[in-house]
C-alpha cells in the first residue's frame, strides 16, 4: 500500500486513466467545486476539502466520512474546475478504494441488495405496477425481476458471487439482506 494518492492513481487509473487521477495534484483549492455543488448545498459534501484530504493522505478520515457518498456524480464541478481537476473521477476512485476496504455506505450497499434480489438498482414497486396496469401494460416488464425470469436473476447473483461483490457489501444469502441489518448494517 502506497500513499493514498499513489493508490488512487494505480487503482482508479485502470478505470478512468492515470492522467485523470493525476490532476488531483493540480488542485488550487479555489472552492469553485463546492461553490456550485448541488449536493453540497444541502449536505456536508465539501468537494474541495475532499481533494485536500486526499493529498494529505487522510485515508481513514475520508473512508469513514459519510459525505464521501453524498456526491451524485452530476459532473458540475468536473466541468467547471478551472484547473481541469477530474473531481468526479477522483471521488469515484476514493469510493472504490473505500469499498474495497469495507467502508461502503449503507445506502450504497442497499442498492447492491436490490440488484441481488431483483436485478434492479431501483426495483419496480407496487406503485409502478399499479401504474403499468392502469395504462394496460403487464404489471411487470419481462426483466430479471419478473417471476418467470428466475434464471436471469440467478445469473445476476452468480456474477455477484464470482466477483465477490456479495462479500464486499457483507450480503447474507440466508436473509437475502445485509448482515446485521438489525444492528444498523455496520460490520
Amino acid at each position: 500500500m502506497g500513499t493514498l494518492y499513489e493508490d488512487m492513481v494505480d487503482y482508479g487509473g485502470e478505470v478512468f486513466g492515470r492522467e485523470h487521477l493525476e490532476t488531483l495534484r493540480e488542485c488550487v483549492q479555489c472552492g469553485k467545486c463546492t461553490g456550485g455543488c448541488p449536493s453540497g448545498r444541502n449536505t456536508a459534501l465539501r468537494t474541495r476539502k475532499l481533494m485536500q484530504m486526499a493529498l494529505l493522505d487522510m485515508r481513514e478520515e475520508i473512508f469513514n466520512a459519510p459525505e464521501l457518498w453524498f456526491c451524485s456524480t452530476c459532473f458540475t464541478c468536473y466541468e467547471r474546475c478551472p484547473k481541469g481537476v477530474k473531481t468526479t473521477d477522483i471521488i469515484r476512485t476514493l469510493r472504490n478504494l473505500a469499498a474495497k476496504e469495507g467502508h461502503m455506505s449503507v445506502p450504497h450497499r442497499m442498492i447492491g441488495v436490490y440488484v441481488m434480489k431483483t436485478g434492479h438498482a431501483v426495483p419496480i414497486g407496487p406503485a409502478q405496477m399499479e401504474l403499468r396496469e392502469a395504462v394496460g401494460l403487464e404489471s411487470q416488464p419481462p426483466t430479471a425481476q419478473h417471476p418467470q425470469n428466475k434464471e436471469q436473476l440467478e445469473q445476476v447473483q452468480k456474477l455477484f458471487r464470482a466477483t465477490n461483490y456479495d462479500a464486499m457489501i457483507d450480503f447474507d444469502w440466508d436473509t437475502m439482506n445485509l448482515r446485521g441489518m438489525d444492528k444498523g448494517g455496520k460490520k
Binding site: 488550487v28 479555489c30 461553490g35 456550485g36 453540497g40 465539501r46 474546475c81 478551472p82 481541469g84
Partner: protein, 740 residues
C-alpha cells in the same frame, strides 16, 4: 551510484590540463583543431569526466591540442584559445561547454579578436545535452560527451570562413499601436532625435488606459496622467501620427522595412474640425453602442471617442452613417451634396468641415526598425457561463465598472445601475484567466490589483455598501501593491476566499445570488448582490493577426507574441529590427508596459543611431552553375528572400532578407541551394561522426555480450570507417594547484 561517484570523483580533477593531439605535426594549411573542454565550475565536471573527454579529443583526426579548464568563458579560459591561435598552433576552435545560445558569440569573438574567421569556431554542448540531463549517469554522460565532441570535431574540419555583411539602416522607426506602450516607445525615439511613424487603428491614441478611472496602487486619475503624454505625441515634430489607420503591408528587412499604411477616411477635415458638438446633435443616428464606454452608453454616427482624444477630431463611422451606409440621409445623397442642393444635417450644422468625398489613402514609407505594441482584448465574459454575464444586467465586466467610476463615463463617475446605487457589490477574480476550461491557463497579472482598486473606490464612494472580493489568491507583487492591499481591507472591503460556483437570480427580485464556498471556514454561502463585477482576464488582441503574419512573428501557446528569449531578450523577436512590447507580449500593468515600450525604443535606437546593422551571415547560397531556375525554393521560402533572375534564369538570394532557415536547401532538386555554415557535407560529417561505431557509446552491455565481443566489434567498426583510434602518445596533464 556510490561506486561511480568514487570512480569519477570530480574533486580530484585539476582545474586545467592539456594533451597533445594526434595531428600535432600536420601541415599548416590543413585543418588544425584545438579542443577546449569546459568544467563550467562543477556543472559539467560533477557528471562528466572532463579529463577523459580531453584525452579522447586529442585522439581525434585533425586535433592538434586538447585542453580542459574550469571556466572556458572566463578571461583566462579564453586566453588559452588566444595563446594557441597566436602561436599558430591551431586554425580551428572547438569548445565543449554549454549551449551556443549562451556562449557562441563569446567564443566567436575570441576567435575574431585573434584574427581567425569566427565561423571557424564550433561548439559541443556537453552541459544542456549531457551533464544536466544525465546527472546520475557519470559514465554514460562522459561517453556521450565524447561523441558530441567527436561530432563537433568532424564538422570543424570542414568549416569555411564567412564574411559578415552590413546593411544601411533608414533612421526612422515604425510603431504599431498607439496605446500607452506604443506612445512611450515613440516618444523616446522621437526625443532621441529620430523620426517615428506611429500607426493606430482607432480614431484616437491612448488605448485601453484612456478608459481606466484611476491607477493602482497610487489612485491617480488616469486621464490626468495620460493626457499630457497624448498631447506630446500628437504635437511632436518627429512623430508622424497616423490614427484611424492600419498597416497593410510590410516587406524588406532590418534597416529597410517597406511599409504600406492604409489611412481610413474620417470624412472630416481634421485641420478645420473645432472639436465642438453641433454635428453630434444634428446626426439622426444616435443608438450606436459607445465602444469607449463599453456599450454602457450610445453615440452618434459622427463622434469623437472621448473628450481628450488625440487628434481632437471627429470621425464619421461609415458602418452606421446613413448617407454612407444607405446612400441617403434625409433628402441628401452624395449627388445632392455635389450639386449643392440637399445636405445631411451634420453638414448643415458644420459647413465646410465634413467631406463625404474623402477616400481611403495608402501611405508608403521605409522604416529601419519596427515596434509592435498592439495590446490586448478583454476575455469574452461569456466563457464562464455560470456567472451569467449577458443574462443578468447586474453582472458586469471590470472594464464596464471602470467606466462607471470614470468622471467622463456614462454616469459621470457615479456607481449606479439603472439609476440605482447598489448596496451589495461583489467582485470575482480570475474570470477567464488561470482557467484551463476556457483555454487561458496564464495569470492576467493585473486583475488582483485593479479589483483591489475598484473595491476601494466603491467603498470610498458608497461607504454603507457591502463590498466583497471573491478571490482564490491575491497576487500583490509590485511596488506598493501589498501595502495597498492592506489599505483596501482596512477600508472595509471583505476578502472572501474561494471562487464562486455560480450566480442565479433571486426569485421575485432584481437582485442576484452568488453561491460559493468560503474555503477558509469550509462552509458554503449564498450571498445576495445588486452588482457583480467580473475581474476579466486579458487576451491577445484578435485584430492583429494580419500584422503577426506580415511580420512572421511567433506566438506562444497562450496566443501572446513570443519573445526571442523569455528571460534574456524579453522585447526582441527572432527577426532583427522587430521588437514587441506591452500587453501583446503578455498581460502587464501600465508601469511594466511603459518599461517595455521604452526598452524597445532603446533596442531601436541602437540601430537608428549607428545607421547600419549586421545581417545573419549563415544564409542560403545558390550555385548558379547548377541552378535551373525552377523556383521551388521561392515557393517554400517563408521570408520571400528568393527571386528569379529573368536574364540568367537562376535564382538569387536577397542576403538581407534570408534568415538561413534552410527550407530552400531541402527542396532544391538540383542541389544548387545550400546553406553557408550548414553545407550538406558539414552536416553529414557531423551525423556520420555521431553514428560511427567505436568503443565509445558501447558501455556495459547486457551479460549476453562479453567484453571481448564488444571490443572486437568496436575495432572492426573502427576499421570499416577508417577512423584513427589508438593510444595518445605523450599525453600529459599539467596539474595546476588550485588557489585557495
Amino acid at each position: 551510484m556510490g561506486d561511480l561517484e568514487e570512480e569519477y570523483d570530480y574533486t580530484k580533477i585539476p582545474p586545467t590540463g592539456s594533451a597533445e593531439g594526434i595531428a600535432a605535426g600536420a601541415p599548416e594549411d590543413s585543418p588544425r583543431i584545438g579542443v577546449y573542454v569546459c568544467h563550467c565550475g562543477i556543472n559539467i565536471k560533477m557528471t562528466v569526466d572532463v579529463e577523459d573527454v580531453m584525452r579522447y579529443a586529442a585522439s581525434l583526426p585533425n586535433v592538434v591540442v586538447a585542453r580542459h579548464y574550469i571556466f572556458m568563458c572566463s578571461d583566462p579560459g579564453q586566453d588559452l584559445i588566444r595563446k594557441d591561435l597566436a602561436a599558430g598552433r591551431i586554425n580551428r576552435v572547438v569548445v565543449a561547454s554549454c549551449s551556443p545560445r549562451m556562449h557562441e558569440p563569446t567564443f566567436r569573438k575570441t576567435c575574431s579578436d585573434s584574427g581567425l574567421n569566427p565561423f571557424y569556431y564550433e561548439m559541443a554542448n556537453i552541459r544542456e545535452h549531457c551533464s544536466w540531463p544525465h546527472g546520475d549517469f557519470h559514465k554514460e554522460a562522459t561517453e556521450k560527451a565524447k561523441e558530441l565532441v567527436r561530432s563537433a570535431v568532424a564538422r570543424s574540419a570542414l568549416l569555411e570562413p564567412i564574411e559578415e555583411k552590413l546593411v544601411d539602416v533608414k533612421p526612422e522607426a515604425l510603431v504599431i499601436g498607439g496605446g500607452v506602450t506604443g506612445m512611450y516607445a515613440a516618444l523616446d525615439i522621437a526625443n532621441g532625435g529620430y523620426k517615428v511613424h506611429l500607426v493606430e487603428s482607432k480614431p484616437s491614441i491612448g488605448g485601453h488606459v484612456a478608459q481606466l478611472s484611476r491607477t493602482f496602487p497610487t489612485l491617480e486619475r488616469t486621464a490626468s496622467l495620460l493626457t499630457p503624454r497624448m498631447i506630446e505625441v500628437g504635437a511632436h515634430p518627429n512623430i508622424d501620427l497616423m490614427t484611424y489607420s492600419e498597416v497593410e503591408e510590410i516587406g524588406g528587412y532590418i534597416g529597410n522595412f517597406d511599409v504600406k499604411v492604409k489611412r481610413k477616411p474620417r470624412y472630416i477635415d481634421t485641420e478645420k474640425c473645432k472639436d465642438c458638438t453641433p454635428c453630434i446633435e444634428a446626426c439622426p443616428v444616435k443608438d450606436i453602442p459607445d465602444e469607449f464606454n463599453e456599450g454602457l452608453s450610445t453615440r452618434s454616427a459622427i463622434y469623437i471617442p472621448f473628450p481628450f482624444a488625440v487628434p481632437p477630431a471627429y470621425t464619421i463611422d461609415a458602418e452606421h452613417c446613413l448617407l454612407l451606409k444607405e446612400g441617403k440621409c434625409g433628402d441628401a445623397t452624395l449627388e445632392t451634396i455635389k450639386e449643392g442642393k440637399a445636405v445631411p444635417p451634420c453638414m448643415a450644422a458644420c459647413p465646410g468641415v465634413i467631406d463625404f468625398e474623402q477616400k481611403e489613402e495608402i501611405e508608403e514609407f521605409t522604416a529601419g526598425t519596427i515596434i509592435v505594441a498592439t495590446g490586448y482584448d478583454l476575455v469574452n465574459p461569456e466563457v464562464s457561463a455560470e456567472y451569467k454575464y449577458g443574462v443578468y444586467p447586474n453582472v458586469i465586466t471590470s472594464m464596464e465598472f471602470e467606466r462607471l467610476l470614470s468622471p467622463g463615463g456614462p454616469t459621470g463617475g457615479k456607481i449606479e445601475l439603472n439609476g440605482k446605487e447598489p448596496k451589495d457589490i461583489m467582485f470575482i477574480s480570475c474570470v477567464g484567466s488561470r482557467n484551463k476550461q476556457v483555454g487561458n491557463e496564464y495569470c492576467s497579472r493585473v486583475c488582483c490589483m485593479y479589483l483591489a482598486k475598484q473595491a476601494y473606490l466603491a467603498k470610498e464612494q458608497l461607504p454603507d455598501a457591502n463590498v466583497t472580493v471573491c478571490f482564490q489568491d491575491v497576487r500583490a507583487f509590485g511596488k506598493g501593491f501589498e501595502e495597498f492591499y492592506g489599505d483596501v481591507k482596512t477600508k472595509g472591503v471583505f476578502y472572501m476566499r474561494g471562487l464562486p460556483g455560480e450566480i442565479y437570480k433571486k426569485p421575485g427580485s432584481d437582485r442576484v445570488v452568488v453561491r460559493g464556498e468560503n474555503t477558509l471556514i469550509g462552509e458554503p454561502y449564498e450571498q445576495e448582490a445588486d452588482l457583480v463585477v467580473l475581474g476579466m482576464g486579458l487576451a491577445p488582441n484578435k485584430d492583429v493577426e494580419s500584422i503577426i503574419s506580415m511580420l512572421k512573428l511567433s506566438t506562444s501557446v497562450d496566443g501572446f507574441l513570443m519573445e526571442a528569449h523569455p528571460k534574456l531578450r524579453p522585447v526582441d523577436t527572432a527577426t532583427d529590427g522587430i521588437f514587441i512590447a506591452g500587453c501583446c507580449v503578455s498581460p502587464k500593468d501600465i508601469t511594466d508596459s511603459i518599461a517595455q515600450g521604452k526598452a524597445t525604443a532603446s533596442g531601436s535606437l541602437r540601430y537608428l543611431v549607428q545607421g547600419r546593422a549586421v545581417i545573419e551571415p549563415a544564409i542560403s547560397q545558390i550555385d548558379e552553375e547548377i541552378c535551373i531556375g525552377c523556383g521551388r525554393c521561392a515557393e517554400v521560402c517563408p521570408y520571400g528572400a528568393l527571386e528569379l533572375d529573368e536574364v540568367r534564369h537562376v535564382m538569387t538570394v536577397n542576403e538581407a532578407i534570408c534568415k538561413g532557415c534552410g527550407g530552400c536547401n531541402s527542396v532544391c532538386p538540383s542541389g544548387a541551394a545550400t546553406m553557408k555554415h550548414y553545407r550538406d557535407r558539414q552536416v553529414y560529417a557531423q551525423i556520420d561522426a555521431l553514428t560511427e561505431v567505436t568503443d565509445v557509446g558501447r558501455l556495459a552491455e547486457p551479460e549476453s555480450a562479453s567484453a571481448a565481443e564488444v571490443a572486437a566489434e568496436a575495432s572492426a567498426g573502427a576499421a570499416d570507417t577508417g577512423s584513427e583510434t589508438g593510444e595518445v602518445e605523450g599525453a600529459e596533464t599539467e596539474a595546476v594547484p588550485s588557489a585557495g
